[in-house]
């Protein structure tokens, strides 16, 4: 099979086939942790790291694995990687682990990771697979962060609350209070708020896509009309 172009891989991962907005995979962590921007970024980045490594590892062993047992082998690889990352983070990056630690085990059951291993890394060479894992992971991160921002603003009236957990006490004043004396909107914090917010984000993406393709059609039409009059 032909090697996919990197530009194509990047565009697919970040926009066209966005894991959260288009493929709608991995919704369980999406709902659970997108209550604030900081939580969402935490899980998103941890997932992106795991996907980068798992895609790379799967790509390296893809010719050793018989077709029938590829799923158990991929899951094994992902579980081993996640556990190693968790142990190493706990040992040498304690502050980061305190923030991301609770999310990391969730990644094993995130079907995006297995999905990319199966649909991309098992058919491509090392570097395209690594880039694909990173880009799909970053695409998911962006979606999570956007959803986290929407829920945090409507649920709590703030933005970036909890940032001090990642960057120390001095980051406390980074927290932006959008609505002072806001009493909170519980629905946005609870899981239904995640579904609603995700629905609006998908609608926004579809709207943008629609506008772009309409504009392209109009340009094509006018070019056609111009050539017709010229002829």
């Amino acid at each position: 099979m032909s090697q996919p172009q990197y530009a194509e891989i990047i565009k697919n991962g970040l926009w066209t086939n966005n894991a959260g907005l288009v493929m709608l995979l991995g919704l369980c962590p999406l709902l659970a942790v997108s209550t604030t921007v900081v939580n969402a970024l935490g899980l998103g980045l941890a997932t992106a790291i795991v996907m980068t490594f798992s895609n790379g590892a799967v790509s390296l062993v893809r010719n050793l694995v018989p077709h029938e047992i590829r799923i158990p082998v991929f899951i094994l690889i992902i579980a081993v990687l996640v556990t190693i990352i968790q142990l190493v983070m706990n040992a040498f990056m304690q502050p980061l682990y305190v923030v991301l630690g609770i999310f990391v085990p969730l990644i094993v059951v995130n079907c995006n990771v297995l999905g990319r291993a199966e649909s991309f890394a098992s058919k491509n060479t090392l570097w395209p697979s690594v880039v694909d894992g990173l880009m799909v992971g970053l695409g998911l991160t962006l979606t999570l962060a956007a959803l986290g921002a929407v829920r945090e603003i409507f649920g709590k009236g703030t933005l970036l609350s909890g940032i001090n957990l990642a960057f120390g006490e001095s980051a406390k004043h980074w927290v932006i209070t959008i609505f002072p004396h806001y009493h909170g909107f519980l629905l946005a914090i609870l899981p239904p708020g995640a579904f609603l917010g995700l629905g609006f984000l998908i609608a926004a993406k579809n709207y943008i896509d629609h506008r772009f393709s309409a504009a392209r059609r109009r340009r094509a039409d006018s070019a056609l009309a111009a050539s017709a009059t010229a002829g």
């Binding site: 209550t35 939580n39 081993v80 556990t83 190693i84 142990l87 190493v88 040992a91 304690q94």
Partner: protein, 210 residues
């Protein structure tokens, strides 16, 4: 004879063995560092509720293993840390569990001074709803400091409830279950302290390991 299934099995087994070996190796390499980090984290938490200047003994080794107790909410032995200044009892740090949080158990550290006044309480771990019930953690809000200076002499029976139930303790609207559980657990820990005060400070040789 068809050898294909055997071959497939062998490959799966090989992956399992390599994976397990990698994990065992990582565990060995990181174990020491993780244990050090956990000890540091626990000390930091104890340091928040018991200023290091208020005692002069090696608090991590001057410990007492308490049997499971109903008032502490524990069903396994727990460790109590004892602080002394020039040999005289200053405070104990009790491990207590609130069994009835919204997301299950809430693990607490309760520092009680020798006169029965609470010096501080911290949540060690919990599973309360993120963004809702988790304000009981010091990282999320200062709520847990409502217990600073509380004692059985200051608040009596009915006072040991959240304000919504007619007690003296603040809570945040929309999340009453978590603070209700913590207030009850802290109250019970204080009652445990009062009933067992002499035993808690009973001296085994300083630094004695059990």
């Amino acid at each position: 004879m068809n050898l294909q299934p055997l071959r497939t099995t062998a490959i799966l087994l090989a992956f399992a063995i390599v994976g397990t070996a990698l994990l065992a190796l990582t565990y060995q390499v990181t174990r020491g560092a993780i244990a050090r980090q956990e000890k540091k984290a626990k000390l930091a938490l104890i340091g928040q509720i018991l200023p290091a200047a208020s005692y002069d003994n090696d608090i991590l080794h001057d410990t007492l293993i308490l049997p499971p107790a109903r008032l502490l909410g524990t069903d396994a032995p727990t460790t109590t840390y004892r602080a002394r200044l020039r040999g005289r009892p200053v405070a104990v740090v009790l491990e207590a569990i609130a069994p009835n949080g919204y997301g299950g158990k809430i693990d607490l550290l309760v520092a009680v001074k020798a006169d029965g006044v609470i010096n501080g309480v911290r949540v060690v771990s919990d599973h309360e709803t993120p963004g809702l019930g988790d304000y009981i953690e010091i990282a999320k809000s200062d709520w847990i400091k409502v217990f600073d200076g509380a004692s059985l002499a200051k608040y009596h029976g009915e006072d040991w409830q959240v304000k919504k139930d007619g007690g003296q303790f603040d809570y945040m609207t929309g999340a009453t279950i978590s603070p209700r559980a913590v207030v009850k657990a802290v109250h019970n820990a204080l009652r445990y302290f009062t009933q067992n005060r002499a035993k808690l400070f009973a001296r085994q040789a300083l630094g004695e390991k059990r």
